[in-house]
Amino acid sequence: MYGGGQVFDSSSVNNELLKDEDPQKLAEFEARIERGEKIEPNDWMPKLYRKQLVRMIEQHGHSEIIGALPEGTWITRAPGFKRKLALMAKVQDEVGHAQLLYGAAETLGKSREQMIEDLITGKSKYSNIFNYPTFTWADSCFISWLVDAGAIVNQLANARGSYGPYCRALDRICAEESFHLKYGHHCVIHLATGTPKQREMMQEAVNRWWAPMMHFFGPSDKMSTHTQILTKWKVKMATNDECRQQFLDMYVPKIWELGLTIPDENLKKNKETGEWEFTEPDWEEFKRVINGDGPCNKERLAVRRTAEERGAWVRRALTAKTKGEEYVAPLA
């Protein structure tokens, strides 16, 4: 899972960084991207490219790791053994994605420790949607199906980008996300076609999560200044609005098909333009939550911080040099 919007806070694109780049190297770099070549860790790259990629991949990693929390709390309460097994595996996948992504970001020179430090001090962001609570099992089902669906839209776009290690990690991640989507869809179908109480529970979850879901893809393109250079360098592969439209086009019919309603009376597809029309999401709320004042921001970071502190002795023990005793990685 992952949300693309906040990653491209365009104020972070500091073109000043470009000034002292060697023009010839820059031209060669751009020509390679133009030809569709991938940039690899040992290749020359502009400082701005490196900086933006680290930021993007790192925030993607944080979103995976924080995204595991709202669903993770439902493992012990999952309805039945099969759901429990599947959810456990899904949550483990998400944490694994974070590991893969931290690994990909490390290839650009930022250490994992620094990334985790920046997450728990609030310096780096993660997807806004995980700052909302999962009150019921249906909330967890909504995430597994639709938040993962949104993530796939974003990730499939990014997988066509220019940085080799990130693209290759995304190919593998997307394969797993598709399975999450299938699992989530089954969970939602089960509730939406169940007893009146189950249907009501699912509908309430859709009502609660619709606004955060619309926020998920980030502010409207009208509101953000151009990030042309990132498009040219194939760092940003699709705009927020393109991703949102694609998501609506693929999933609104599937939600309606299940007899569920979406809490936006203006939501409809314009037959002439082929575009979806909807009530403009509340971007003030989005900003407020991103800046730390959402229902669960403090809780999410506190959980991560506690995990970090409680695990500190293990990391110390692993790296400590004991005489004659070397650490052997466990097989399973």
């Binding site: 694994g96 893969l100 690994g103 290839t107 290759r168 593998r172 399975f179 052997v328 097989l331």
Partner: protein, 161 residues
């Protein structure tokens, strides 16, 4: 058309691992037996680990492929009598894994002498063996995470189990 084991295996190559879509259940070694008796087809499947949450999905996919090929008279069994081993992955399967960025597991013939075996993985991107283990666990228990000191790739490896 006469039903043979080979023909059914060929059909089942269409069923891919739900999380690694480049490898079929046949190449992964999850299809552990096919019996044909008077036109009745029995397919035995052994999950890579017990309690695999994807088993029901895979079973359904197998049923769908059999039906699609006109084999209505079938049974798909979960076979827990034998355990799956990474040695069951075919050569073609290993190649596909490598291409997907997953270092394939070394053959172990059920004897794992060096516990540090997972510390040595070959980079699927540049074939270098100058790699470092980053984490003994990845998205699933059966994979570990590595860094290639040669090309810089962050990659996963399928553990020998």
């Amino acid at each position: 058309m006469i039903l043979t084991e080979d023909r059914i295996l060929e059909m089942l190559k269409e069923v891919k691992d739900p999380e690694i879509p480049v490898i079929s259940l046949v190449d992964l070694g999850v299809i552990t037996g096919i019996e044909i008796n008077d036109g009745h087809v029995t397919v035995n499947m052994t999950p890579t680990f017990i309690g695999c949450p994807a088993m029901d999905y895979m079973k359904q996919d197998v049923v769908d492929v059999l039906s699609k090929n006109g084999i209505e008279n079938h049974t798909v069994n979960l076979n827990l009598k034998t355990t799956w081993s990474s040695d069951l992955i075919s050569e073609a399967g290993k190649k596909a894994l490598k291409k997907f960025g997953l270092a394939p597991p070394p053959v172990h013939n059920n004897v794992i002498e060096d516990l540090d075996i997972i510390e040595h993985a070959e980079c699927p991107n540049c074939d270098s063996i100058n790699t470092t283990l980053k984490s003994p666990f990845g998205p699933t228990l059966c994979r570990s995470l590595h860094h290639c000191n040669n090309c810089g790739e962050a990659f996963e490896s399928f553990k020998p189990i």
